[in-house]
């Protein structure tokens, strides 16, 4: 496969960078569970490691097939792949790091140690720019410190590529150790920042592969398979079916991506054609996969050809979900929501949501998953409801990736999503709906009840593993022994007199007795509140309550 790594005395070319990326994937793959355990909140959403691993996997996906000698080409493929596969906040930031790196090395076939260090620094800068309100003590700080350490190493007279990478990894490690001193929440929880630690592992993985030459390849296979299934998109079947999802790589010479894109666009939709003159990735939804393949064959050798009948896949989902084809909307605006839990999926479908991407708290869908759902809508305009704080970052990326007009309503919770979608009106434009839905989402209060996954201190509260904890609008407020008491405290804190309706979404873990106790507690303590119980079927949260 690849030539033995050339390290000392040489620069970073395409194949060396490819090897470094594969090394980082391997190392993060072996250690991502440790990253998962570092979640700040004691709530069960510790999947930063998984999100970063899946994002990195997507970054490496096309890189693996490329024999490009230029580092710029490999960096570009990694940047695109990570962007499409970005999941969760850390995944999105990681994709921006790759993007910054790719921009910094544009047009270069090989990097000197100083150029490599400069690219690391630029990668960190790009990540800072991509975040609205950069917070110190996170992956951003770690990226910056890694870049600074690399720059210092590159200034030294005996600078080499392995030394620059080693300095970056060491800089990352020391920055990770300092994160608790920068962020109160980390200090309270007694952990280091998970995303920063993930980045440290990525740099360490690069270093290992560069230092160890070929032996690093022995471990690579382990990390190949995704650790969790990709989020599944379920939606109603349009007239005439979905056609075939057709994907492949073209290997050739002087490939013209623009020309190929134009020709393929004539044969289907959801077209993605990206790459370099020697390797182009093609993705298209088409009714005529053979025509697409014949066309592509004229340009070069086809690799990794994959044609999937989307109608069969989707039909299966629709049958099990009991979906129905809906009449076209007068305003031409589709609704897309990220939801987990069978009952909640039914509720959102019942409210008229066209496409549901299954995911949420612990299974964050990727940018690509959300993009696919939007592209497959029979409308040119869409309203997107992430319904979870961990999904918003990936949802934001989608807005810039599609030609369709996407209105993102940044719903942080299921109750916010329900309130928003209830106010959707078919006779109003997308923009009018966006405004009304945002207002509605902000009006509702969310109480989430779960169990602490470990001992911690958060928001001035001592919490032991297994305690029942109550969050109001994503903020940990109460801890106790049983659901009813914690919910009662949360309702008192909100001031029940200002509200009239409590909707209880029952999760899959909640028993009938627990539900009955919760209901009677709310009714006896707050007789002025109307109580409605719905089966949500969500994981991890025995109860989610909407207060309005």
């Amino acid at each position: 496969m690849a030539a033995p790594a050339r390290t000392t005395g040489t620069g970073v070319d395409g194949q060396l960078f490819k090897r470094a990326l594969l090394g980082s994937l391997s190392w993060l793959g072996s250690n991502h569970e440790e990253v998962n355990r570092l979640n700040v909140f004691p709530v069960p959403d510790g999947d930063t490691g998984t999100n970063m691993l899946l994002t990195l996997q997507s970054a490496v996906e096309d890189v693996k097939e490329s024999n490009a000698a230029e580092v710029s080409k490999i960096a570009k493929l990694a940047s695109h792949g990570s962007l499409m596969g970005a999941r969760g906040n850390s995944g999105v930031i990681l994709s921006q790091i790759f993007r910054g790196f790719a921009r910094a090395v544009e047009g270069k076939s090989s990097l000197t140690p100083a150029e490599l260090a400069a690219a690391f620094e630029e990668a960190a800068n790009a990540a800072y720019r991509a975040v609205n309100k950069p917070t110190e003590g996170t992956i951003l700080t770690v990226a910056r410190e890694a870049g600074r350490a690399a720059a210092t190493a590159a200034d030294s007279p005996d600078a080499s590529v392995p030394r620059v990478i080693a300095a970056a990894a060491a800089g990352a490690k020391s920055a990770v150790q300092k994160t608790p001193s920068q962020l109160q929440i980390l200090r309270d929880a007694g952990v280091v920042d998970a995303g920063g630690f993930g980045l440290q592992l990525i740099l360490e993985g690069m270093l290992k592969s560069v230092e160890e030459s070929d032996s690093a390849f022995g471990n690579l296979e382990a990390a190949k398979k995704p650790v969790i299934p990709a989020a599944q998109i379920s939606m109603d079947l349009p007239e005439g079916g979905w056609g075939y999802c057709t994907e492949f790589l073209i290997e050739g010479n002087n490939l013209d991506t623009e020309l190929i894109r134009r020709q393929i666009e004539a044969l289907g939709n959801s077209v993605l054609v990206v790459g370099e003159p020697e390797l182009v990735k093609v993705h298209v939804h088409t009714d005529e996969p053979t025509r697409v393949i014949n066309l592509a064959n004229g340009y070069g050798k086809l690799l990794k050809l994959n044609v999937g009948d989307m109608s069969t896949q989707h039909r299966r989902i629709i049958e099990t979900e009991g979906g129905r084809p809906s009449a076209p909307r007068p305003n031409g605006v589709g609704l897309v929501a990220v939801v987990a839990g069978r009952g909640l999926v039914d509720i959102f479908r019942g409210l008229g949501v066209d496409a549901i991407i299954e995911g949420g708290q612990t299974m964050n869908p990727s940018t690509q998953d959300i993009l696919n759902a939007i592209e497959a809508l029979p409308y040119d305009e869409a309203i997107l409801l992430p319904n979870n704080g961990n999904v918003i970052a990936a949802a934001k990326q989608v807005v810039g990736l599609t030609k369709k007009r996407v209105h993102l309503i940044e719903t942080h919770s299921v109750p916010q999503g329900v309130s928003a979608v209830v106010s959707f009106r078919q006779d109003r434009s997308g923009t009018e709906n966006e405004r009304a839905m945002k207002t509605e989402a902000e009006r509702v209060q969310t109480i989430e009840v779960t169990h602490a996954v470990r001992d911690t201190r958060s928001n001035g509260l001592r919490v032991h593993k297994g305690d029942v904890i109550g969050l109001i609008n994503d903020k940990l407020e109460f801890a106790g022994d049983d659901y009813a008491t914690v919910v009662n405290q949360a309702l008192n804190k909100l001031g029940p007199d200002s509200y009239e309706l409590v909707t209880v979404y029952r999760g899959e873990q909640a028993s009938d007795d627990e539900l009955a106790r919760l209901e009677s507690e709310i009714r006896s303590q707050h007789p002025g509140l109307e109580v409605e119980v719905q089966h949500g079927g969500q994981h991890h949260y025995p109860f989610i309550l909407s207060v309005e």
Binding site: I347, G350, G352, V418, V422, L501, E532, Q534, H535, E548
Partner: protein, 275 residues
């Protein structure tokens, strides 16, 4: 009474008692059935008794139109001192009442009965009766009423869709409520159709929405506020609208038993005839 023709309606018109004598309107009752017990709407049972029983009842009551024979009886009686009659009824898409009136009329020889399908329900029918009663001749009455039928509107805020759905008058999907959530539907009855206007999660938010939608429907010729066991809220809405429309008489009406079977308790409505 100077006019020579009679005005007939049915109990779903929610005609205020006082209008019966003021405008000389004959009301034929529909029926409510609790199991095997039958009650004539507004005759055998008051609205208060009905809603109290509805709240206690484990099974929902059903409703039925008057029989053609009951209409024939009424027309027969009216034929003694009138030379014709206009008979204005609940929309044929909602009830078999107008059809029963037509069949009943055909069995009364030598008495002209103009049966009007109002395409609506509740007090807009009473408004049509008033328009008819104030006309000089039967032909004028028919023309004036027919002109207004397409302009009648019922804007109804239900506390729950449960009753309407169980009565088979509207599915949850049709009401934009294809979900288990107990949303408050805001519905508009216009031109023989029930159309969803909006859906709201809580009652306190729903009332302003109803009023807001009504404002977009102005100008109107006549207006009333209807309620089913929600007098205080109806009063508040009427007070607000009277300030906005100082020149308009805005009566408050009660939703009767038959209609109440489908709306359920705590329903509110703004009913009007557009200009």
């Amino acid at each position: 009474m100077t006019r020579s023709f009679a005005v007939v309606t049915d109990s779903t018109a929610d005609l205020p008692d006082e209008w019966r004598t003021r405008y000389g309107v004959e009301v034929v009752p529909l029926k409510v059935l609790f199991g095997t017990e039958t009650f004539r709407d507004g005759v055998d049972m008051t609205n208060e008794q009905f809603f109290a029983r509805l709240a206690r009842s484990t099974t929902l009551p059903t409703t039925s139109a008057p029989s053609p024979g009951e209409f024939a009886e009424a027309y027969e009686r009216l034929s003694r001192d009138h030379d014709g009659c206009i008979s204005i009824h609940i929309g044929a898409q909602l009830s078999a009442t107008a059809e029963a009136a037509r069949v009943g009329a055909s069995s009364v020889d030598g008495f002209k009965v103009e049966v009007i399908d109002s395409q609506t329900v509740s007090m807009p029918i009473a408004f049509l009766c008033r328009v008819a009663a104030e006309s000089e001749t039967l032909d004028e009455a028919v023309a004036a009423v027919k002109e207004r039928v397409p302009k009648t509107r019922v804007l109804a805020l239900l506390d729950t869709l449960r009753y309407l759905e169980m009565g088979g008058r509207l599915s949850r999907a049709q009401a934009m409520i294809g979900t288990m959530l107990d949303l408050k539907p805001l519905l508009l009855v216009a031109n023989a159709e029930i159309k969803p206007v909006d859906r709201v999660r809580t009652r306190s938010r729903a009332v302003p929405r109803m009023v807001e939608f009504f404002r977009s429907e102005m100008p109107v010729e006549t207006l009333a506020v209807m309620h089913a066991q929600a007098r205080d809220e109806a009063d508040a809405i009427a007070t607000q609208l009277r300030q906005e429309l100082p020149d308009m008489e805005i009566p408050i009406g009660q939703i009767g038993c038959v209609l109440g079977t489908h709306t359920g308790p705590k329903a509110l409505g703004l009913v009007y005839v557009k200009k």
